[in-house]
Amino acid sequence: MKPPRFRYFAPTSVDEAVELLSTHADAAKVLAGGQSLVPMLNLRLARPEVLVDINRIESLSYLRVEDGHLAVGALARHRMVEKAPEVAARVPVLQEAVRHVGHVQIRNRGTVTGSIVHADPSAEMPAVLALLDGSVRVVGPSGTRDIPWQELFLTYFTTTLGPDELAVETRFPLPPAGAGWSFMEVARRHGDFALVAVAALVTADETGRVKEARLSLAGVGGTPVRPERAEALLAGQALEDDVLAAVADAVREAIEPESDIHASAEYRRHVAGVLAGRALRAAMERARRGGEG
């Protein structure tokens, strides 16, 4: 298990990186944290001719709260997000989710933006992006654009990013003040890919009913899924058993999971409904406490 040959470039600016990507187009792959790409290289399943390593573009290593967003630079490692006080304070669901990403060695190296554009449908970060209606900022030869998550993910490991475009930032809109949150995951072992993961965000009115609820799921198809009908069902409701049962049904309708050796599609469908209910309850609990953990 040794990687095949490739040519390696380590640009120190975004412009330089984009130029390299334009020159080599389909032959090139961006290397950020490398925690998904390098295993595939070692297994010789990925064989790009050129690697553009962006780890030397120091300007991309940042976390900022700005104009209602948490902006996560392309070199911000999972660990940086996990430990950042502003993430804990402003986007706690992201912090809760990031703890499920691999193990500490992986989180020290892997990047949030890399995980998102890698577009593994079982991964946590894309599900959080969908939950918060976030976007990815990309720079290409013709300039900068923001791709909303709905337009980003096509299917398994496939996004609408052009081969000459570099994702430079992930933009998570800040959840409403006082929103409760939860991220729950069923994985075979701690740190494994999710069989199913559910993120929930809930705001409550004075009577303890749902004002707005959002759900986002991973592991249930080719992309992260927001079950819109389930979300709509929740508005104005108290989280009683019958409401949650209807929500679970709506969640199960909204997804098309696959079977693999670890879990059947039926299992994933079932557990998606279960976790949705549990995550909503946990999020509501926090919403009642005014969004405090």
Partner: protein
């Protein structure tokens, strides 16, 4: 059919010593440490980033050396198990704790555990058992069932706190 591989001159500090070498771009950091520098204490168990045997510290933080290329370590600081003990006579308190608690059997996974635990205890000097389990869950051990490793980490934390 196969593309050419680029070669690069790198300068890496490993356990305080500076090494300059020319490497092929695809050379894994784990192989660089083991075969170019002869630091065979870093072991390779899976080469796909799960087992943690190859864990080293990059600028003080544990990373999997099988998921990095040597060229990426240019200008950085690496610490391996060979850099843990203060000298030939003494072991590091974490090494002592693994010895006393029988935290190793075949010893193959041990260097990876030590490098993970050293960074962990720097951040969290007085961890709970649950925190210890979580911290070492990226390192697989097939011999010990982890029971004595957890005991060793607890003991190491005590030793380090006492030595402070």
């Amino acid at each position: 059919m196969l593309p050419e591989s680029s070669r690069h001159r790198i300068r890496v500090t490993v356990n305080g010593q500076v090494y300059e070498r020319e490497v092929e771009a695809r050379l894994l950091l784990s192989d660089f440490l083991r075969y170019e520098l002869g630091l065979t204490g870093t072991h390779v168990g899976c080469e796909h980033g799960v087992c943690g045997a190859c864990t080293v510290q990059l600028d003080g933080q544990p990373v999997r050396s099988c998921l990095m290329f040597a060229v990426q370590a240019d200008g950085r600081e690496i610490r391996t198990v060979e850099g843990l003990a203060p000298d030939e006579e003494r072991l590091h308190p974490i090494q002592e704790a693994f010895w006393e608690a029988h935290g190793l059997q075949c010893g193959f996974c041990t260097p990876g555990f030590l490098m993970t635990v050293e960074a962990f205890l720097r951040e969290n000097p007085d961890p709970t058992d649950e925190e210890i389990r979580e911290a070492i869950s990226g390192n697989l051990c097939r011999c010990t069932g982890y029971v004595n490793i957890i005991k060793a980490v607890r003991l190491a934390a005590e030793k380090l706190r006492a030595g402070r």
